[in-house]
Symmetry: C2
Subunit: 250 residues, 2 copies
């Protein structure tokens, strides 16, 4: 499947002994909040990615959700990357907070959900929590909010988008990862990684996530076409547009 | 206070015996969900508004949150209104659902929060719940989502906006009512009550709500200036803007 989509898998490692990473969770009535029941790291527990020379020259790097010491190990292998983004999860906030903060210091962009932003900072107000995370070093923070969309924070800007409205959500698992993949994938097509590009990338991330939840696993995303993606991008423009006519007292 | 803001109070009634309506609630850690502890209707229980001839000719009518039979009584007094909107609450969904559905049939716009939309329809998916409410008769539905903003549904359009980002929320009580007031107030300044006007009105509703939560009660709203309102309107444009450049395979 990866080969068919022209995805370089040369840095993948196969471990003969050990099991695949597993996350166990349940969703509430409204499918919005994922509750972790159990996390089995298995072979992920001490996976230390060794990058090829080609991978070390990557322009964009996404540090997927592994133990923060290991994320830092990857970060150090790509000193010249233009943009390094990071994901994490509640497990690492609970068990390796100090290391996680150290890792966050060294990245350009943090991509997490709202519960994680609150847990990480112990600040209930999301806007204040975001300011705190930015004060640690990253130039930008994306907070994913499930069915409510996503928000991008920088030192002096704020951008928020709704989620694509879906009448049936088959399986929200992986929506956040698909968002991150769509976001990074779009950015990699752009010369300038400025705020305007990041904003468009957020729309693409949301579009990809909206397709992902329509079927189980990768069933929907694997058969996506560029036309389908662009059509939903245009729908986002429609559903967020309003005219810039301030109120005038009459 | 009302007089100073040029608000017509001639239809107000004073009841010599009886107590004012009271709502008792608590908020969670994140201030997003209001949990009702108790509702004392008091003089509101059987308040039957009698409109003056002038009020009967109102172009826009907002049926505030009272018993749905009584709302219908007001609705029947304004047969020529261009737009009639309705608010309600969990109490009426629980105790007078049949009457509430009958009342909803006769209005143009329903303005409720997401928990109420789900409770009213017993449908967990908000988009499907919205379609169901529209199938009962109203031409439009606004769903308020607290810190996540608000969405406008019509038969064939969807519009969603974030909330104004605030680092400190003093008191979320009344944010929904202030949204509705700002929304209706803006619409009343417009000749055409079309979708474009409704979208702008939603921004104004959100702007007003964002000010309201900054202080207790009406303390912040009462001293608002038009410049402050317009400044926040423009901020909404900034924080939702992205360029319409679809993805092209390179």
């Amino acid at each position: 499947m990866f080969d068919a989509h022209n995805i370089d898998t040369s840095d993948l490692e196969h471990v003969a002994d050990g099991k695949t990473f597993r996350w166990f969770g349940r969703y509430d009535y409204d499918l919005n909040v994922a509750h972790t029941l159990d996390t089995h790291l298995n072979v992920f527990a001490d996976f230390q990615p060794k990058l090829s020379e080609q991978s070390k020259n990557s322009r964009l790097v996404f540090l997927g959700n592994i133990q923060p010491d290991l994320q830092r190990g990857v970060r150090q292998q790509v000193p010249n990357a233009e943009l390094v983004a990071l994901d994490t999860m509640n497990l690492w906030i609970d068990t390796a907070r100090g290391s996680l903060l150290e890792t966050i210091k060294g990245v350009d962009l943090v991509i997490i959900n709202d519960a994680e932003a609150r847990q990480l900072t112990a600040i209930p107000n999301l806007i204040k929590a975001a300011r705190t995370i930015l004060s640690w070093g990253p130039k930008a923070l994306i907070v994913k909010r499930g069915e409510y969309g996503a928000a991008l924070f920088t030192a002096d800007t704020y951008f928020a988008i709704p989620a694509f409205p879906l009448e049936s959500v088959f399986d929200p698992t992986g929506a956040g990862d698909t968002f991150a993949g769509g976001f990074m994938g779009y950015l990699s097509s752009q010369r300038d990684l400025d705020e305007a590009a990041m904003r468009r990338a957020m729309i693409f991330g949301s579009v990809m996530a909206s397709f992902n939840v329509e079927e189980f696993g990768t069933a929907r995303v694997v058969k996506l076409t560029h036309d389908e993606i662009n059509e939903r991008f245009r729908a986002f423009k429609q559903m967020t547009h309003f005219e810039e006519i301030p109120f005038q007292k009459q």
